[in-house]
Amino acid sequence: MSYIAKPSAHHPALPKNALGLTHRDYEGTMSTLCAGCGHDSITAALIEACFEMDLPAHRIAKVSGIGCSSKAPTYFLSRSHGFNSVHGRMPSITTGANLANRDLVYIGVSGDGDTASIGLGQFCHAIRRRVNMTYIVMNNGCYGLTKGQFSATNDKTSPSKKGDANPFEAIDLCQMAIQLGAGFVARSFSGDKAQLIPLLKAAISYWGFAFLDVVSPCVTFNNHPTSTKSYDYVRAHNMAVDQLDFIEEKEEITAHYAEGTSVSVTMHDGSRLVLHKLDQQHDPRDADAAIMAIRSNAAKGRVATGLLYVNETQQDMHDILATDARALNSVPMAELCPGVKALEAINARLR
């Protein structure tokens, strides 16, 4: 962390987006995480993604649980709605908020402890319910806030900084998410913004449950030479299955790939994903193949990254439940709370 605040002064030639804002307008307060923390890079990538997508900050809600990762929403989008919830309970809070107001963009920020341990059940059911949200796990394989104990996503082959062996197998959140029916599943690395920013943009515009597992080295406890979640290890073993171009509806496609080497996916909002396949065997629209790609890379000690799986036609929770299209705050009071007589009528119907 730093003691002086980031100055408000900015480069005089800073680009502005369609809303007339610079990326500095999407920042939050000064991070209190350790210097070099991967989470700060993910925060910066989120700021850049929201800036490039011209999102108005007041139409975004950021929700988190407990942990280093869950502190992070303070460090971006200071003009957005936010809820820093109970440990592992981010999915429930987001589900409730989304039921009440489907018009906001929901960014859930969680960590490997918050998601893969205390909040594992919540995680599963948010996916099962197809909550329209972007669920980001800042995954560093350890409990950084409590001195670096192993988390449930730490690889069995990855000992602690002091050399203690990890006795248990890791939970692979991407595999779980695909099995549970998440419509958009990606993995990335905090040290690779060129990959992370387009994935974040695609995840935010995805209609349905979008899951993003971002390996984010803990510089203090899990960036040692024997760690599998260190900057060096992930760089050396990163196996990107594809390269994503996220193209907003208003933009033209400029990149051209040879026939058969790319997959184009049109999103609910008209934007398109153009995936340049780096692994020819991989088809991101095939869930079984996606799980195979993760498993076979992991067996070779590699980390499969990129857009692993995408379901082009997912229905979200509101589609499934056929709820009112309006956000509750725009439903007139008389309709929202029809009064004693209406309640009596309902009760009478049930007697």
Partner: protein, 615 residues
């Protein structure tokens, strides 16, 4: 090899920055780089902020010799260069802070270099007692030289005394700084005009330095000039007469012709000598007026109107006496190749009635006293041929400096020339080669890290407005030529202004082998100047940075390749030197290091404070 890879290779590479070259970081300290004598501006501003005025003064004195004078009337090339002016609107008031050091320095005699009582036997003649000659004397006296200073006027100072009115530069300030040098044992010959260089050379001096300035004011030959001569004055000559109290009054209505700093001094002096209706007229449009913006501002503040696009056409006479000036009004029609506006007459004419005219349309060099057959070559503009490193003319042992060398410049350039000439004279007297054996400038870097999040400089940037200069009451200062208009900052105002300095000499130093490419520095940088990027040739690299680096006067700091093959590229342009990159770096790949640059001078004894930083 794939086509894409081939294309990437043909894109070229920008070579890593060689930070062992002192020029690289020196250039980042824009103010010091712009200063002809390379005064270490941020260092003395920090000393002022700490209230260490004597140390701040000495650091200045060692570089620029006349901090009290320059703190009032310097041309301030440092200020347009100031990085704060690129981040915000206005640069740090560097010049005014220098004056604070001079005003509050207290007793400094103990810091003066020792002057050897046993002389080295070398005698140097200095012609003209302006800033250039005085600098040569200061640099040579501590080495045991005997210096003889010839001056046609009764007192030393040259144009600083004759052409700058005392309401801008009080005589006490001038006397103090000149006397300090004379007290080194310089032998002054005031009131002694050199009429023949050949005769002087025959006196057997080991070297002769000519710092006689550009003393000839330009004249304007339009109809009526001769007939009106009693009331048409050459600006600098008239200012000299005022300075030596030969002239005490001027007519009620005065027209000044010219738009430079001399014109500003003329109009404000005329106001104090009884001018009621004083007007400045300039041939060109206002935006290309030569006067410094602050001098124009001060003149206008005193109620003097400036009429631009007025070209003088005729002096009008009434009964043989000057009655007015007829002007042709001009209009701008595009610009020429050098960017100067092209003017054409509009056909409209105006007449300004007046009692006196002061002409301040430029100065020229004049060397009627230098024989053309004594080995000193002159060029087609009648200027001596002078080597721009050694300051030596085509005759060995004769040196030029200040305005005498290449025409009108300013005081700070004259000082810079004086330092170089003194170096050359010392080399020559020791039988060394003036160019090849010239001492090199030195520099040092030292980490400012004191602990976690602790730096030995104030790195917390805050947007602050430039502190306004308090002025003397106009009713009083306009009546008295000797009342100084600018009152100077007090300690509180000085502290406030000093806090605006960005400490550009505290450099961001990057070590590629330590970098783990976590992006922390790039993400935290408030001005987006740090990039981790694929290497390309410089024009492409500049274009592809997070914010394209379009200010080509500012360098890119390029690292050696990192682990991923990318490079770190930093655009120095608007770096705030806040040190957040170094604070956020988990591995210490960034460090904030104070860079100290010291220009070589003849006398090491005059560099005590500078050299303290190099140890």
């Amino acid at each position: 090899m794939q086509a894409g890879e081939l294309a990437a290779r043909s894109r070229g590479r920008t070579a890593p920055t060689d930070i062992s070259n002192p020029s690289y970081f020196h250039k980042v300290v824009d103010c010091q780089w712009a200063c002809p004598t390379h005064t270490p501006v941020p260092e003395y501003i920090r000393l002022i902020a700490q209230g260490r005025y004597a140390a701040a003064y000495m650091l200045n004195w060692e570089s620029n010799v006349f901090p009290g004078i320059l703190g009032r009337v310097c041309d301030r090339p440092c200020e347009p260069a100031c990085r704060r002016g690129r981040v915000e609107e206005k640069p740090v008031a560097i010049c005014r802070l220098k004056r604070v050091a001079a005003d509050y320095k207290g007793e400094i005699d103990a810091f003066m270099p020792d002057i050897p009582s046993a002389k080295n036997g070398k005698r140097i003649a200095l012609v003209g007692a302006g800033p250039a000659s005085l600098t040569v004397a200061r640099d040579l006296m501590p080495l045991g030289y005997s210096c003889v200073l010839f001056e046609k006027d009764a007192k030393g100072g040259g144009l600083m005394r004759t052409n700058i009115p005392s309401f801008r530069l009080p005589a006490t300030v001038l006397d103090e700084e000149i006397d300090r040098i004379l007290a080194f044992g310089v032998e002054p010959r005031f009131g002694h005009e050199i009429k023949s260089l050949e005769a002087l050379l025959q006196e057997g001096f080991d070297a002769v330095f000519i710092g006689t300035g550009a003393p000839k004011g330009k004249d304007l030959n339009v109809p009526g000039r001769t007939q009106a001569r009693a009331n048409v004055h050459i600006g600098i000559d008239w200012l000299t007469s005022v300075a030596f109290e030969h002239v005490h009054t001027i007519g009620r209505r005065v027209v000044i012709i010219g738009g430079g700093n001399t014109a500003m001094d003329c109009c404000r002096t005329a106001l104090r000598l009884g001018g009621m209706d004083v007007r400045v007229t300039v041939r060109s449009p206002r935006r290309v007026m030569k006067a410094s913006p602050w001098e124009i501002e001060d003149a206008e503040h005193e109620g003097i109107p400036i009429f631009d696009n007025h070209s003088p056409k005729e002096f009008l006479l009434d009964k043989g006496r000057l009655a007015g000036v007829r002007f042709q009004k001009m209009r701008e029609v595009g610009v020429d190749r050098s960017g100067r506006p092209k003017l054409e007459p509009t056909g409209e004419e105006v007449v300004f009635e007046c009692d006196d005219v002061l002409m301040a349309i430029g100065q020229e060099n004049s060397f009627p006293w230098i024989e053309r057959n004594i080995g000193i070559e002159f060029d087609e503009w009648h200027m001596p041929k002078v080597d721009n490193t050694t300051m030596m003319s085509t005759r060995a042992g004769v040196f030029f400096g200040g305005d005498a060398a290449w025409g009108p410049e300013n005081i700070i350039w004259a000082v810079a020339h004086g330092h170089q000439a003194a170096l050359s004279i010392d080399l020559m007297c020791h039988g060394k080669d003036l160019a090849n054996e010239r001492p090199k400038s030195s520099s040092s870097r030292f980490s400012q890290k004191m602990g976690i999040h602790e730096w030995s400089y104030k790195n917390d940037y805050a947007p602050l407005n430039r502190v306004a200069m308090p002025h003397a009451d106009k009713a009083q200062s306009l009546r008295n030529l000797k009342v100084e208009v600018e009152l100077g900052y007090d300690d509180k105002l000085a502290f406030k202004e000093a806090e605006r300095c960005l400490n550009c000499d505290v450099q961001t130093v990057f070590s590629a082998p330590l970098c783990i490419e976590c992006d922390a520095c790039m993400d935290i940088c408030p001005v987006d100047c740090i990039n981790f990027i694929d290497n390309e040739d410089e024009p492409a690299l500049r274009e592809h940075l997070r914010v394209p680096a379009h200010n080509k006067t500012q360098d890119l700091y390029v690292s050696t390749p990192l682990k991923t093959g990318r490079i770190m590229a930093k655009d120095e342009d608007v770096c705030l030197h806040c040190g957040l990159c170094a604070e956020r770096c988990p591995t210490g790949a960034w460090d904030m290091q104070k860079f100290m640059y010291v220009e070589a001078q003849a006398a090491q004894a005059c560099l005590t404070h500078h050299n303290a930083y190099l140890r």
